[in-house]
Amino acid sequence: MTDAAPLSLAPAMPAAAAAVGALLILALDTAAGRARMESRGARRRGLVLALAGTLALLTAVLSGLVHLFPGASTAAASVPAQLRMDGLAAASVVIVGVSGVLAIWLSSTYLMVLRLHAGEYFVLLLLSIAGAFVAVAAGHLLVLYVGLELMVLPAHVLAGFDRTRRRSNEAALKSFLLGAFGSALLLFGLALTFGATGHLDHASVRAGLADGGALGLMGIALVVAGVGVKAGIAPFHQWAPDVDEGAPTSVTAFVSVCVRGAALLVLLRVVVDVFPADDAVLRPVFAGLAIIGIAIGSLMAMVQRNVKRLIAWAGIAHTGTMLLAFVADDAAAYGAMLFYLIAVSVATLGALGMVLTLAGGGREVERLEDFAGIGKARPGLAALMTLFLIALAGLPVTAGFWAKLLLLRAVVDAGHVGLAIVALIGSVVALYAYMRVPAMMFMRDAPDQEIAEPSTSELAVLLLCAVVIVYLGVVPDPRLPGFAHGLLELLGRLVVGPA
């Protein structure tokens, strides 16, 4: 299969675009010399760098997007099967790339507020996304490993980017140590898999695993665990809340949406490509992981006093819920999972974007008490925040509502009513957790406090997120121009191929 495919550089395009963008920013930043923080020059420079990053990412997204259209050569492979640009890879590139753009525009003003240097920040961010692009398009487990490492190493640095703050340093260290642990698991799994099957490219590993053998299964289980660490899947999640709390909020948004989202997409790729068909050993494991994630995530979210931690813990529950698609294992479930990922990504970007928007004048607004009275002082922002949170909680009329309904419907249709019940109980707990923030914003008064005016770029990103959430909440299955199917069916087909 692999030798027959024509060689093409197309699968490497997104990663190349992001990497070139990173280099470009590095060059621009160096050429511009030093500028005093908070000067107009610095502001303008930040804007130019953000634009350059956006341009690079949009190029990457476009190069992925062309593969989504019907008639495109969806199986284009480069250096035999090591990178492939199929439907899933293209969709992953689009999802990660677009959320990367949003993360860039959320950062640009916030970096100024924190007096951080935009140049290095954007370079690291783009390099991390380049790694994500490699990992989601990988057709070979080693390439996948390299991509993942390239994705998470800059993320570790980003977590510690606010280097004068101890919490940021702590976040970086935790992120690095536990990330290294995950890499070790992943490498060990690769070694076992190679030992059992003699191959590391996805197709051969799958064929080798189909013959049975505990060693290969164990290897793949370790690979799943290794990717699970990066994706924040319980019980490999411990780093996520700490890092999310300690890192600068823009990094929190980037890590929790782009990095963890991409890792989840990589896991999806592994499951679809590598797992033997009708496998009865590994899939039930995902049911267990899902239950653990939903239980731990929503229960811990309930008791958090810090909104960034709350969103991180509830995000672990969301990741657990998405794992249910692996148990159901059909086109409807995978389509719903991708829709869920999109909905949660947009809503999380919005919610964390609001947290960083409210922070201004050097004061972080991240403890629950800090939100008291914001409903009165800034009703518009508070309403937007509420919208993002009800989307995360899965109430109508938001994308989150349909995400939950569609995914659970697929799970129940596959015969797993018990898992759906667990997910729904978790969602009630999460609903309570999320609604503590609006309760604080609207129902408690606080002495007048200084709340920063949102910058234009922040406001634009937040409004865009809100529009997407409401649009997908009213029309969750839009017929995209040029496609024969609605969005939901398209997403399902991207993962499992045409029915």
């Binding site: 009165k376 518009g380 109430l395 509502f401 659970l408 729904l424 309570y432 969750p476 299955d477």
Partner: protein, 552 residues
Amino acid sequence: MSLNFFDPEHALRWLIFLPAATALALLGCNALVAALFRAPGLSDRIWRAAGLGASVLTFWVAAWVVLGGFDPEHIGFQFVEYAPWIPSAGASWFVGVDGISLFMVVLTTALVPLTLLAVWNRVDRSLRSFVFYVLVLESGLLGVFLAMNAALFFMAWQATFLPIFFLIGIWGGSRRVRAATRFLVAWGLASALLLVALLAVGGGGEGVIQFDMVTPPGGSGPGLLEAGLPGGELGWLGRIDQAWLFVALLGAFGLVVPIVPLHGWLLDAESEAPMSAMTLLTAVGLKMGTYGILRFALPLCPDAVSEWSAMLCGLALAGIVYASLLAAAQTDLRRLVAWWTVAQLGFVLLGTFSLDPVGLTGGVVAMLSHGLTSAALLFLVGAIADRRGSYEIAALGGLARPMPVFAALLGVAMLSAMGTPLLSGFVGDILILLAGFGVGSTIGAFALLGWVLGAGCLVWAYRRIALGPVENPENRGLIDLGWRERGIVLTLLLPILWIGLHPNPVLRRVEPSVLELMRQMDERRVVAPIAPIEDAARHAPVEPRERVEEPA
């Protein structure tokens, strides 16, 4: 008045969207004004007037178009609208009204303008968001009562959460956040159970996704309430499955009604909620539960319900007696109304679970009557609280002297509440009692006992509030109800009196739908039907007819 400016066939979409669309339009204009003129947005007066106008218009659509155009002879749903929406989720825009939902719709649309009038200038903070939440809540409630697609129903169901949450949490009493949170968790749990049940039953197997409740016009496949019909392709659930399904549905709707062991959140909410939210929640919101039982639990689980009928009647009775006894012990007017509500909704459940057309009809009438009566009672309680700043019964006494109109109106409302003949409360209660005696004399006797207990506790409460000498000097100078307050309460008391004197127009519209409901249950029964239904069929023969007819 002419209706030519829109097609009356589409009345229901106007009903559902008019309030929410007004709310969103107001919000948009507010933001626009704030952005363009650097003003603080539209004035409170505009919000209030627009909100009232929209809700009155909604009521007008409900009263004249729906009530006037409703054909009592027609079996099945009327004013049906259908459009596919999201096939992969089984969701469609499918709405219709029948005799069971008709009066819930009219009640909802009537109470919203009255509520807005009642709080006219008494909202102490942020009137604008108050109007916004009330209008959104109205749309959600109407969506629940009119949805003919389970996904749409669930969406509308969840859309009612946030408005009530904020109404309690922002304008409530000192422990409002706790009450709002408890409300949210209880209703969230209910919706989780509901979603599991709907997903389990709506899957249909083999990729057939069916959330439409009956076959839509131009659509395909038997609806959720029709699967297992002689002509249908799908068999119906076995008895074990039905039992689980019923437990889930009973839990979901029972949390909202609330059935007695699940009632904790209601007492919290009623003690803390502002009177406006409390009126809408008590008079209409709780009916989502009883309505859901009628609409989903009965036809989806006919065997489970009829097998457990006696047990369920016992559960309802236990609730009635327990709540009546506790109502007698209350010292707070709001909690008195709350416990009376629990008892009264116990009656509705008793009528429902008697599985007797008489009892079911009585249940629907009792839902309507409770809505009107509880709203009247709560407005009166609110009027007292406005004057005295307290809900303590002990602080009152002898109010008939300073406030004769108040005392008279409260007397009529309480008489209706205790089920006195010639008032609407009697119609529902007597039908339910008859059905109760039909099920078994013990059940009937206990229902009678609950009725007497409830009446006794209300009489006693009335005596403590209105009769006797004025002992508390603070009660001496109280001002009687103003014209606005009198108007609101009279608007509610007139239909109470009218239904009590002449219940036929209501019964005539409810009964065919109840019989249709029994037929739906009957046709999908796995085991043989039980006796009362055969009796019903004998008394009121139901000719074979089309399941859903095109709206005329």
